[in-house]
Every structure is written in C-alpha cells, then in structure tokens.
C-alpha cells in the first residue's frame, strides 16, 4: 500500500494545484515541494529493505481478462529511478520559485509538472507492461503540455507538437512491441516476463518485439535519427528542460532498455541495434554540440550524446557495462540538471542564451560561474568528479568490445566522442564565464537569490561526492541496481578515481588533451561548417507532416462528401448486398416447416389498409399533411396487430406513442414547407426504388423464414418461470422491464433523457439569430384563427385532465400484474398535459406547472439509479428488486415492490422527455417573437444577416 501512496502523491498534488490555480505562488510551490519531499521520505524509508534484496510489491486486479493488473513493485532499479525523479523534482520545484515570474500561471505549470512526476513514478513502479504503457503515454502528454507552457509562443507550440508526434509515434510502436512481448511470454506481468527470456528470444516474434520496443525507447531517449525533437523542446521553461529533457523523461527510454535487459539483451541483433545506435548518437550529439551557440541547444545535444553513451553501454550486453550505464545515469542527472539550471540563471540575468554574446560572467556573478564551471568539469569527465569515473568505465568497457574481429574500432570511436565532449564542455565554460564580456546590452547581471542557486549547488555537491567517495555513496546502490538490471549475480563494482595506469586512463587523458587542442583550433572547422547547408531535422519533420496532412486531406475529400443521401444509399446497399450474399450461399435461407396460423377476414382487411396506407405515404409524400394521416393509419394497424397477437402492452404503448408522434410531426410541419417540389430526377428515383424493393423483399423473406421455423430453447422460459416467484408480478413483460432487464431499461431512459435535453439544446437558441428571424417572418405570414382558444375545446380538455390522470395512475399501478406500467402511464400523462397546451395555450398551462422538464428527467434517472443502488445495501446485485403483499382494510390486498419505485423513475423520464420535445416545439415561434421584443437591437443585425 505504501507504493500506492508513493504513486498517488504527485497526482494528488497535481489535482490540488489545478483546483487552487488562483492561490499564491508560494502556496503552489509548497504543495508541489511537499509532495515531492514526502515521496522522497517514503522512498528513503523503503530503501534499506529493497537494497537488502526484498522488492516490495502490490497488486490489484483491474481487467484480469486482458491481463491488465494494477501491479506495482519496487526493486533497486525502480528505486534508483524513482529517487532521481523525486529528488531532482524537488530541486526543480524550488528552482522554479526563483525562475517563474510573479504573474505567470504557477498553478498550471506545477500541476503539469506533478502530473509528469506521477507518470514517471508510474513507469518506474509498474510491474505490468500494459500499465507501464499507460504511464508512458502520460509522460508524452505531460511533456507536450509543459513544452507548450508558454502557449503564446509559436516555437513553444511547434516544439511541443513535434515532441508529441515523435514520442507519441514511438509510443504507438512500443504498444505493439509490448503486446507482442506479452504474447510471446504468455503474460503481461513484468516479473513473469523477466523470467522467460529463453522463451522470448527463441520466439519467431523476437525481431519484431525488439524493433518495436527499441522504436519506443529510442524516440523517448532522443536517439539518432529521432533526436531532433529534443533541441526544439528547449522552448520549454528551463525547469522543464532540467527536469524532463535531461534528468528524467529522456532517461525513460534508457530505463526501459535496462528494465527489459534480461529478456531482450544478449543477442547479436540487440548488440548491433542498441550499441550501434548508442555509439552513433554519442558521436553525433557531441559533434553537433561543439558548434551550437545557444546555451540550451549545446546542453540539449550534449544530453543526446550522453544518452547515446548509456544506450551504447546497455547495448554491449555485459553486466559490467550495464553497471557503468546505471552509474553514469546518476552522474548525468546530477551535472546536467545543474547545468540547465545554470543556463536558466544566465538567461534570466543577462536576457540572452547566445554564447557569442556572453563572456566574462565570472566577474559579475561569481557563484553562478563557479557552480557552472564545476558542473562543466563533471560533464567533461575531469577528476575528481563522478563524471570522470563513469567516463573511464565507459572507455574501459568499449576497450573490451570487439566488432567483426576489429578490437580497435569501438574504443577509437568512443575516444573521439569523449574528445568532442571535453571540447564542447570546456567551450561552454570558457566562452561564457571567462574572457571579457562581448555584449553590453541590458543591465549588469548579478547572482540570483538562493532559490535558484541552492538547487544548483546541491546537484554540484552530489556530482563531486560521486567522484570523491563513490563507493560510500553509490557503491552498494550501483551493485544492487546492476544486479536488478541483469537479473543475475551482482557484478564486481569498484568505483574509484584511480585504478592505476591502464588503457582507459590513457584514452581518457588523450581525450582531454586532444579536446583542449580541438577547442583551441576550432575556428577553421566552424568556418568550414558554416558554409555547409545544415541538415535540419525540423525541416524534414515539417515536410513529412505536411505530406501526411496533404494525403489525409485528399482522402477525406474523396470519402467525405457531406451528402446524407449518398451515405444512406451506401449503407443500405452494402447491408442489402451482404444479406443477399448470405441468402445465396448454399443452404442459404430456407423457410421452415412450423405450422402457420390462419388469418381471419378482419386481419386481412387490416393488412390491406396497412399496405394501401404505406403505398400512399410513398406516393403522396409531397402532400405532407396527407402523408401524416396515412402514417397514423399504419400505426393504428400495427397496434391492432399487437392486440391480436397477444401483446396488449405493446398495443397500449404503440397507440400512445402514435398520438404523441403525430402531434409532434404536425407541430413541426406547421413550421416546415408544406408541399415543396421534388428534388430527385426519375433516374435517381428508379435506382432508389430498385434498392428499396430488393431490401424490402429480402427483409420480408427473412421474417417469413424466421417465423416458419421452430424456436430454440430461449431465455424466455426463465423469465416466465421466475416472473411471479422471483419478481412478484404476473405481467411478465413488465417484470422483464423493471426487474430482469432493468439495466437495459435504465440505459434506455437515460438515452431518452439525453434526447430530451438535446432537443432543448436545439430549440432553445432557435429564437435568436437567423433562425429567430425566419420564425418571426413565418409568424407574420401565417393566418391565425380569430378564436385562439375555442371555449368548447378548452372546457372539455380541462374536464378530461383529472380523468386522464386517474386512468394513467391506474395503468401505472396495475402494470406489475396486468397490461400497463410506467412507460404507458407516462405517455397517458403526457398526452393529458399536452391536451392542455393545445386547448388553453402554452402560457396558461406553463404557469400552472410546478415541475419543469429538466428536473423531471433528472429526478427520474436519479430515482431509478438510486433504486438499483439500494439493492447493493442488502448485498444483492445492482437493480435486484424486492416485494411484499400487504392487506389494507377496505382496499384489500396490495403489493409493494421496489420495482414500482423504479417504474416511477421510468415514468418521470418519459413524461419529461416527451413534454420537452412537444412543449418546446409548440411555442418556439412565440419565443422568437418575444425575443425580438426584449432585444430589438439584436434582431436588426439578424435581419441583415438574413439578407
């Protein structure tokens, strides 16, 4: 459970920060800092046990069917990584207090930063590869938000988008790789996977798994040729660069390689892909860094190069190399974060990051220059820093690496990279802090406050301590981590500045000497390079993005023609073609031998009426009122069919729905054109008719074959048997609705409620704008009856009201045992109220209504849900019902069931939704007129818009 706390702390802080966005900067900083500090304390408490060899685990089943568990563990590797994340996180938060200006959105910034921190902790702790993927994507998203934090800056937005596209794209590949990995291993559980390396490396999927996972790791860790997003991510605020883009997020790829080292490493393919990419990236990054002029760009390319170093070491596939990589990860996190913070200070104080304009800062800001120079020495790999030790370890490892019989190739290239890194490191310090100031724009810079200096100082101290007393601080940690990475015995870890004179020391000394020389004689190379056309990753990326967008747009223009008629035709045609194909296959759709029922003369007459009415609707469709009359004939015949075919509930529902549907259509038709000219030509009508006849005939045949076959055993028998015994009602249809399948009904009334609200949303604004203008014009042109509310109609409707309500109530109560129930009762209620609207007008009725449609819908859904939840209190499944029979004097036996309560909810929603549609529609024109009276000035503009 402690692990859950560790994981949730940053997320909790993120939520708190987001909710208190208006609090002071100090409050924001203290929330974020205390969350990081608390996490760090928890971690320190856990560290001794974990390092002693007992990883902590916690597992909660999430979606077991998919193999997705919420499973966390803390082993030494995770410990190191979480320690980096929380430790550097804390320092960065403190630094941000000095860095962010007072008027900046610190709440939003720190909220994103904590979101990122939580996602990173999640990656480190995940013991399930699917869970790891979720956190992996979350880091890409939070990185996107943080790079684009200054959203008014174009370079920030572009950099954010590029980072998201590259790391997100890599994330997609990683998803594929992880799914295949889980398939090959037979589990998504990380610990299980790590134990099955033989199975995975023997699997034919191994090459695909490796390539896909490497794509994910290389894009995240900015390996060549996916490195180009990292320099553009430098548009982010400097705390973000220090935290995400040097110390933690870009190391997630390295972490992943280390995490999966036991199952993936050790093959030829691994060696060439991983070590090769790492070596190339190390060289490339170091070379580019030497010739950049922006402080943060130099650091970014240096980061790319150093990440390449770690990737290369992991690629070597030996335990000692893995240990070196882990030690270098610690060193790099310390000195690179310090350098980014330092660059932020310089930028903050001088207003520029261009190294050509800086110089001589040591005189003006001595502390900054001292800390910066020390961190640079660590980056250059000079003694007595940790960087020296890890660089020597790297050279030592490369000296042992033989490629294709060549024992010199890798060590030479590694030395070249080390030489370059010495050169760019020293240039970074000398050009910036020493010599004379090359530009005197702006005020004289000073050392900043403690908030910005202290975190840098802490990191520099760590960088020194890692070199001076490496075994005391990091010896056992590195050994334990290396052991966790390799999954085998701990390698012999001997961290020390002095190992005697050996090849690695010679290479290291040579690198420093040539590096200094290179720095001194750099000018001609720089001049030569300046004449070359620069190969810009951004230009290539933009071109690729433009090409993708162009292709997508062309495809969309072809596919999406915004024509409902075309879509519907394709839909019907494809469905018909599939059905015809199924019917024509051998064995297709033969009719069965079930005995049929004879049709009486009444049934035949009704059938004729239905056929004639349907044909009439189609033929007379343009005379719209007439078409509605025919529609209602069809509805009536369908209701009669339900009565005849033993479905009284359906018949009642059909009749009631028919009434409200026809009223609704009449109201709408009132506003629509009555007899518009036809739009379709003969050819088109012929084509549509042909499709309609084939589809109709096919559907009819399908219905015929189905009805003439015997039924199989269905679940209906269960409903019948348990209706009275279990549900307490004899009307099996109603019991099914409110009990057996109550969950369906709950979903259905929710949809109905949403439809009601959508109708409101569609009609509410119709009184304004162009629509309102049209409605007012329509109102003016429409003849009105001289007698608006005929006396006889009004009186009859008012007298009918209580009677109708009584009938509705009766139908509602008997529903459980006799035909009736909530749906039908609600429709009767709605019709009774609707009648008042029609007879007495909208205003008269609306004044006398106590409850509006919105509360009715909300109340209905809530009461139905609450009834369902109530059963949970009695340890019964959601929506179980309970009932009992009670004897009341005079009235007799009555039944009380929780299902009645549920049915009440159903009734409320149905009344609300029906009234919403009809009441809104009935007075939309009236509202438009009133809107014009209330706001005449608006309507003038609308009238102009209509012209």
């Amino acid at each position: 459970m402690v692990l859950m706390v560790l994981l949730l702390l940053p997320f909790a802080a993120a939520v708190m920060l987001a909710l208190n966005a208006r609090a002071s900067r100090g409050a924001h900083i203290s929330i974020a800092a205390s969350a990081s500090a608390a996490g760090l304390l928890v971690l320190l408490g856990l560290a001794p046990g974990v390092l002693a060899g007992t990883p902590m685990t916690v597992r909660i089943g999430w979606i077991p069917a998919l193999g997705l568990d919420f499973s966390l563990w803390l082993d030494p590797l995770a410990l190191l990584f979480v320690g980096l994340i929380l430790g550097i996180g804390l320092l960065v938060v403190v630094y941000a207090q000095g860095y962010l200006k007072r008027n900046e959105a610190t709440g939003r910034f720190l909220s994103f930063l904590m979101l990122f921190q939580g996602a990173m902790v999640g990656i480190a702790l995940s013991n399930n590869v699917l869970l790891l993927l979720i956190f992996w994507e979350l880091t890409s998203l939070s990185s996107f938000l943080l790079i684009g934090f200054w959203r008014d800056r174009a370079d920030a937005r572009q950099g954010a988008r590029m980072a998201l596209a590259v790391t997100g794209g890599g994330g997609l590949a990683l998803i594929g790789g992880m799914l295949l990995l889980g398939q090959a291993a037979g589990s998504y559980d990380l610990t299980t996977i790590l134990g099955r390396s033989g199975l995975i490396q023997a699997s034919p999927l191994y090459p695909a798994i490796l390539v896909l996972i490497l794509l994910g790791a290389f894009t995240k860790s900015a390996q060549f040729p996916f490195h180009f997003w990292l320099p553009h991510a430098m548009a982010a605020p400097t705390p973000v660069s220090a935290y995400l883009h040097s110390a933690t997020m870009v190391k997630a790829g390295v972490f992943l390689l280390a995490r999966l080292w036991p199952v993936l490493a050790g093959t030829q393919m691994w060696f060439f892909l991983v070590a090769g990419t790492g070596l190339l990236t190390m060289l490339f990054g170091a070379a580019v860094a030497l010739f950049r002029n922006d402080l943060k760009a130099i650091l970014a390319y240096s980061t790319i190069s150093q990440l390449g170093l770690m990737v290369m070491l992991l690629g070597f596939g030996t335990a000692a190399a893995a240990a070196s990589a882990m030690f270098h990860m610690m060193n790099h996190a310390a000195f690179k974060a310090a350098l980014f913070m330092n660059a932020g200070i310089v930028d903050h104080e001088t207003g520029t990051r261009d190294i050509r304009k800086l110089g001589g800062l040591a005189a003006m800001m001595p502390f900054t220059a001292a800390l910066g120079s020390l961190a640079v020495a660590a980056m250059a790999g000079l003694p007595p820093f940790g960087g020296f030790i890890s660089k020597e370890m790297m050279l030592e490892q490369s000296a042992h690496t033989v490629v294709a019989g060549q024992g010199l190739l890798v060590p030479i290239l590694a030395t070249v990279a080390a030489t370059l890194s010495v050169a760019y490191s020293l240039r970074y310090a000398t050009d910036q802090f020493f010599g004379r100031r090359r530009s005197s724009d702006g005020p004289v810079p000073h050392d900043p406050g403690m908030a910005m200096l202290a975190p840098t100082a802490v990191l520099v101290l760590i960088a020194i301590a890692l070199g001076v007393m490496p075994m005391t601080i990091a010896g056992s940690l590195v050994a334990a981590v290396a052991c966790a990475v390799t999954g085998g015995a701990a390698p012999d870890v001997d961290l020390a500045l002095w190992h005697g004179i050996n090849p690695a020391l010679t290479m290291s000394v040579g690198a420093v000497a040539i590096g200094v020389l290179l720095l001194w004689r750099r000018a001609p190379i720089a001049a030569w390079l300046a004449k070359r056309p620069a190969l810009d990753g951004k230009a290539l990326f933009d071109a690729a993005m433009d090409a993708i967008v162009g292709v997508t747009r062309r495809v969309i223009l072809v596919v999406h023609v915004a024509s409902l008629q075309r879509y519907l035709f394709i839909l019907f045609a494809v469905a018909t073609a599939l059905a015809v194909d199924a019917a024509l296959t051998p064995g297709g759709l033969p009719a069965g031998g079930r005995p049929t029922l004879p049709a009486g003369p009444a049934a035949i007459v009704a059938w004729v009426a239905l056929i004639v009415a349907t044909v009439a609707v189609v033929v007379r469709q343009r005379e719209r009122f007439l078409a509605l009359v025919f529609i209602s004939v069809i509805g009536l015949v369908v209701a009669l069919a339900f009565i005849h075919l033993s479905a009284p509930d359906l018949a009642l529902t059909q009749i009631a729905v028919e009434v409200v549907t026809i009223v609704l259509m009449l109201l709408a038709l009132h506003l629509l054109p009555k007899t518009p000219p036809s739009l379709s030509g003969t050819l088109r009508m012929g084509r549509d008719a042909a499709l309609a006849i084939i589809a109709g005939g096919g559907t009819g045949w399908a219905a015929w074959t189905m009805m003439t076959r015997e039924t199989r055993d269905t679940v209906s028998a269960y409903h019948w048997a348990n209706s009275y015994a279990g549900g307490g009602g004899t009307n099996v249809v109603n019991v099914t609705l409110v009990d057996f399948r109550a969950f369906d009904t709950l979903g259905e009334i929710t949809v109905l409620g949403i439809a009601g609200l959508a109708i409101y949303a569609l009609l509410e604004p119709a009184a304004r704008g162009v629509a309102g203008q049209r409605l007012r014009a329509w109102r003016k042109d429409t003849p009105h009856s001289p007698e608006r509310h005929p006396m006889m109609f009004v009186m009859a409707a008012r007298l009918l009201m209580p009677l109708a309500l009584l009938v509705g109530f009766y139908i509602f109560l008997r529903g459980h045992n006799q035909p009736g129930g909530g749906f039908i009762a609600a429709l009767v209620f709605a019709i009774a109220i609707l009648l008042q609207y029609l007879a007495s007008g909208f205003d008269w009725t609306d004044e006398r209504r106590r409850i509006g449609e919105h509360p009715l819908i909300a109340f209905g859904v809530l009461i139905a849900t609450a009834t369902g939840l109530g059963s949970l209190l009695f340890d019964a499944p959601f929506l179980s019902s309970s009932f009992g029979y009670f004897h009341l004097p005079l009235i007799g036996e009555i039944e009380l069931a929780t299902a009645t309560l549920f049915d009440t909810g159903v009734a409320c929603v149905v009344v609300g939704a029906v009234m919403m549609a009809l009441a809104q529609l009935s007075h939309v024109a009236q509202r438009a007129a009133r809107y014009a009276e209330a706001k005449p000035e608006d309507t003038v503009n609308d009238a102009e818009a209509l012209q």
């Binding site: 008629q565 049709a599 059938w607 259509m665 629509l672 739009l679 549509d688 109708i759 009609l763």
Partner: protein
Amino acid sequence: MSLEFLIASAIAVLTAGGIYLSLRGRTFQVVLGLTLLSYAVNLFLFAIGRLVVDRPPLFAKGVTDHADPLPQALVLTAIVITFGMTALVVILSLRSYLESGSDQVDGRTDIPRDETPL
C-alpha cells in the same frame, strides 16, 4: 393466407417504403421514411417470438402455452426509443431548416432538380 404471411409482407412493404423515403432529398421525407422503417423493425423484432393468438404473457400457474414475453419487452422499449429518435430527427431538421432556409437534407440551397450528387 396465414398471419405469418401477412406480417412478413407488411414488414417487406414497410421496409421498402422506409428505405425509399429515407433516400429522398428533403428532411421531412426522411423523417417519414425513418418512421416506416421503425414500424418494420419493431414488427420484425416482435415476430422473433413467433406469432401467438389470444395468449398474452400474463403468468398463471400451470400455463405453458403463451406468447414469448422477452421480445415484447424489448419491442416496448424500442417503441419508446423510436419516439425519442423521431423527435430528435424532427427537431434537427426543423433547426436545420430555420438556420439554412432550406429543407434539403444537407442544408444546401443551391441544388436544382436532377443535379443532386449521386
């Protein structure tokens, strides 16, 4: 003539009419078409329980011959949802007409007869 034939042929005619009207160019015709299609679909779903005359699904002890209650329950909700859908489509077409001044299904005002896109 059997009842099964009457129902099957009614479903056929309603489906054909519904599809034909749904493919027309004006919103109100599409609404009519959807209404016809809904009748057909509801009848089809109902017929899954097979046709039974005069034996409604009201439980009584010992009765084994009765109409299938489950399709009836499903169709009952389907009828109500049909109303919700029809209402939404009607209002949608009304709003579209009010905004665009045209009751063509895509809200276009510029399509002369015979030139609608196929």
